[in-house]
Assembly symmetry: C2
Homo-oligomer: 243 residues x 2
């Protein structure tokens, strides 16, 4: 039986992946992925065959991986961050139904929420909600509803895909929605290029975040009512008692 | 300047930690942690000094780490999963304010939400909320409110600390609350001992989950309205369009 690993390589460069992920990639004949992610790990896996497809060609990329595996190759499909958070593991399992002779194993990784949190300090710590602002596959009304209800519930909120060329004002819209329940002085943070060259972060208020321009490589953290700034770090306490 | 790494070692055994985490532990003189987590990694870091404290002694554990570092040792404080998700990084940064001569670096890891998701298939994939059912540090009313609002928002919900000796009926109570908005046939999954010996998982409906007894080593996943069972796996699609 041939095998495909669906591997989350973590938010950045080689060292951000787990030992298990590195072993899985090391055991493969072929590594498939979006060009940018393949370039992040390529030098550590010399001698492997690399197959890349451009962004938004996810279904094609999955089929490519299964076709390779069906030919007897051991294949790794790599994803940035975790394979199961806005990643490829779901699609791989769905398409995998057409290839019963190929075994699929999902190898988890550090997602941008926890990778970025470590850069900012400790913004999550307790309950949080993860929301993507991309309306490519989700109606904006659904995103809006989630922003409102998650704010009402006083979750720390981590925003993925906060911006793109077409969606340059989405973060501002999201902040306005969250401010219906969260105070303007709520402690927030942004992290860019997590675990990669050019990594940067900034702590600010929700009001300031509203007027901050971010790019698609940025992960945004919006605190809960207890989140504080401590020595330049964004820190959420472990609970609501004795604070 | 002496240094403390606050390291998330991932959900289970050595291989679940990142290459970066393994390097950080390798560079340390002293590894501090809760006994169970130290035992999971001990054999891979021979020659290190290990200091353990029992559960619930978190503040003492943090001070122990800083006292060691203040004596010039390079120290790692290890946490299960990710250091910033119900982990020690927040407390370490807070207590660290008393030790300005010690630098604190947080090293992220795979949290149980993504580690467990990989075992079940792809239950998260899209927006999700993470909620702890432990009311040790959070009033139950707050937990209840979050369960209701997260369900109303149609998040996939991942539950940490779903049970303990004192809280044996909390998962049942949580399921009843979620069923006010989520259908009884919502696809759910549980994973036990993620990444460790005895790892197990099961896919079931929300109605079945309500009557399932889980222990404190179990992570629970409650699907959104689109979550499906595919070939025995729990899979959430990437969005709400074209489904």
């Amino acid at each position: 039986m041939s095998k495909i690993y669906v591997v989350g390589i973590g938010p950045g460069e080689y060292e951000q992946m787990t030992v298990r992920a590195a072993k899985a990639l090391g055991s493969c004949d072929t590594i498939v992925g979006y060009t940018v992610y393949v370039d992040l790990v390529k030098e550590h896996f010399a001698g492997k065959e690399f197959l890349t497809t451009p962004m938004k060609k996810e279904v094609e990329r999955c089929r490519l991986a299964f076709e390779e595996a069906a030919r007897g190759k051991t294949v790794a499909m790599i994803c940035s961050g975790d394979a199961g958070v806005y990643g490829m593991s779901g699609l791989m399992l769905e398409i995998g139904m057409e290839y019963p002779e190929v075994e699929v194993e999902v190898v988890p990784g550090v997602t941008a929420a926890t990778g970025g949190a470590a850069v900012l300090g400790a913004p999550l710590i307790h309950d949080f909600a993860l929301i993507s602002l991309s309306d490519l596959l989700t109606p904006w009304e659904k995103i809006e509803k989630r922003l409102l209800l998650a704010s009402e519930a006083d979750f720390v909120i981590c925003l993925y895909n906060p911006s793109s060329k077409k969606r340059h004002d989405y973060l501002k819209k999201a902040c306005d929605l969250m401010m219906r329940y969260k105070a303007p002085e709520t402690v927030c943070g942004i992290v860019g290029n997590i675990g990669r060259q050019g990594e940067s972060c900034r702590v600010m208020t929700l009001e300031e975040l509203r007027d901050t321009q971010v790019d698609m490589f940025t992960t945004v953290f919006v605190g809960n009512s207890q989140t504080k700034e401590i020595g330049g770090k964004m820190v959420t306490p472990r609970g609501y008692k004795n604070v």
